[in-house]
């Protein structure tokens, strides 16, 4: 050994993915534990989701009652009920709103510390976000669902593979939403203040993901365009359509496939933007 060896010793050389998996797991677990500490906010958030569940459910039921044939957008009243209440639960799992952490860290300059870590920045945000989503699935998803079952008459899926497919769809929705949130926040590398893009995202996400009304209420050509050309329907509409069995089995699977394509594209975009941003980054006051 005449030269210094600067390599980091490998944790278990025979299982090369072990360290990666361990890091990812630890990051995800940290995200989960972090949200576990916000107990009161969890209760407050669930209450609000439930109130909005009532509001949206009554409106859509009134639409179903007034519609010719009683099936607006191809849903019956029970399917619309499930759509609303599961949607209210999913809202916090997918976390469409209120994530400005990366933008704040860019503005304050803290983001330079992220770049020093031996984990890719996109991974270091994705992993805790999955932990957060797991927490939301346990504590935020359930209360609106229970309220829906107690006060209304929701549709229960009948096909055996619907629920597993729904689970996959939710996972893809979380990854996709994290990807877009990362991209929106990353505009702060160029704009310094990402408030505008974040507000734009908040608005577009609610509308185009199918939160305010099911996208099937739109003209067909518009709905299809949204599905193919934007990732938004994948955040809520797709998982919900899968769960309420709005379409035949091949269409269900196809929609989830489309979601998967968008998740890959978004993660790739995140990595690309991150690479460009690192060249651009000027640490403020660092």
């Amino acid at each position: 050994m005449d030269r210094l060896d600067a390599r980091v010793p490998q944790i278990s050389p025979r299982r090369p993915f072990r360290d990666t998996a361990a890091t990812f797991g630890a990051l995800a677990w940290s995200g989960f534990r972090r949200y576990l500490t916000y107990r009161q906010a969890t209760i407050a958030g669930s209450f609000t989701n439930t109130v909005f569940g009532f509001l949206r459910c009554y409106v859509l039921l009134a639409v179903a009652a007034g519609a010719v044939g009683g099936r607006p957008g191809g849903y019956d009243a029970a399917q619309l009920t499930t759509f609303v209440w599961v949607g209210q639960g999913l809202l916090s799992v997918v976390a469409l709103w209120g994530w400005t952490e990366l933008a704040d860290r860019i503005r304050s300059g803290d983001v330079t510390a992220d770049l020093l870590r031996p984990v890719h920045p996109v991974i270091s945000y994705l992993a805790p976000d999955l932990g957060r989503a797991l927490h939301a699935l346990l504590f935020r998803f359930v209360p609106p669902l229970v309220a829906g079952f107690v006060f209304f008459d929701p549709y229960v899926p009948g096909r055996p593979f619907t629920v597993p497919l729904f689970a996959v769809s939710v996972l893809l929705a979380v990854i996709g939403s994290m990807g877009v949130r990362f991209l929106v926040n990353a505009t702060a590398y160029w704009l310094h203040d990402a408030r505008g893009p974040i507000v734009l995202w908040t608005l577009a996400a609610g509308l185009l993901a199918g939160l305010y009304f099911p996208l099937r209420f739109l003209p067909d050509w518009l709905a299809v365009t949204l599905w193919v050309a934007t990732p938004f329907p994948g955040f809520l509409q797709t998982p919900l359509d899968v769960l309420v069995e709005r379409d035949s089995t091949p269409v269900q699977a196809g929609l989830v496939g489309l979601q998967a394509c968008w998740a890959v594209v978004l993660l790739a975009l995140c990595a690309l933007v991150q690479r460009r941003a690192e060249r651009r980054l000027v640490a403020q006051g660092g």
Partner: protein, 266 residues
């Protein structure tokens, strides 16, 4: 006079800080118009799926959503940012506000008056004028007065709700999104005719909290329609009284909240 100058200074400081990030400001302003457009768009899309909702037609529904939207946006423009109170209480920033020789509520309003929401309000007014034109209204002096008074009364009502839900933070620091259920929830509730809702939920929101008097009852009075739920016609004209009552409660709660406030003690 000195007080006015202090408020003007707060506003000026805010203007300068906004102009520092001009691109973001412009994007935000445009999106904010989108916010109002969206309320109306949602109603239009819903009516694509059905000809009537709870017996009301599209023009009638647009009248209700525009009354609600005017009231909400005016309130949101003036006091909407009060919902940041939770973070002010948590970080102890409220101490800074309280040691200044100005009213706490006024300062919080002027420290963050969202100028970017101004265009949104303008759009809401335009939609209201269109909605009034779309409906076949038998104009009487009383109805003309009502059309002017209702958005303002509704704004007072929503402003009181904003202050009330923000005041929660004095007793429950982590109340977080809870207030949204009544502010944004109230906006959504008032966007549709009350008969859409049912059971105890309708009783609580419409009459218990008084949201029926923001847009539904006044719209019925403007249209000259009888209330399918059986309330007499004059209830359309009481919305200013309801608004004042809620504003009174909000003022009391805010005062006792400020008195109750103990700093975070760091």
């Amino acid at each position: 006079m000195a007080e006015l100058r202090a408020y003007a200074a707060l506003l000026g400081g805010q203007w300068r800080s906004m102009m520092a990030y001009r691109a973001s400001f412009v994007v935000e302003m445009i999106t904010n118009i989108g916010g109002t457009a969206l309320d109306v768009l949602a109603v239009l899309v819903i009516f694509r799926a059905t000809p009537t909702i709870a017996g009301f037609t599209l023009p009638e529904a647009v009248l209700m959503v525009s009354l609600s939207s005017c009231a909400f946006n005016l309130a949101d423009f003036v006091v909407g940012n009060i919902d940041r109170l939770t973070s002010y209480v948590r970080t102890g920033m409220l101490d800074t506000v309280l040691i200044r020789p100005l009213g706490a509520l006024g300062q919080l309003v002027f420290m963050d008056l969202p100028l970017r929401k101004a265009l949104r309000l303008a759009l809401a007014v335009v939609v209201l004028v269109v909605a009034l034109g779309l409906n076949d209204i038998d104009w009487t002096p009383a109805r003309v007065t009502l059309a002017f008074v209702v958005p303002v009364a509704g704004a007072v009502f929503f402003a009181a709700i904003f202050v009330l839900s923000a005041s929660l933070a004095f007793w429950w620091v982590d109340s977080g999104q809870l207030g949204n259920a009544f502010t944004y929830g109230g906006r959504d509730f008032t966007s549709y005719p009350v008969p859409v809702y049912a059971g105890w939920f309708r009783a609580v929101f419409a009459y218990g909290l008084g949201f029926a008097f923001v847009s539904y009852q006044p719209a019925l009075a403007l249209l000259g329609r009888a209330d399918p739920l059986g309330l007499p016609g004059w209830t359309g004209y009481v919305s200013p009284l309801v608004a004042l009552a809620v504003a009174g409660i909000a003022a009391l709660v805010w005062r006792s909240g400020i008195r109750h406030y103990r700093s975070t003690g760091s």
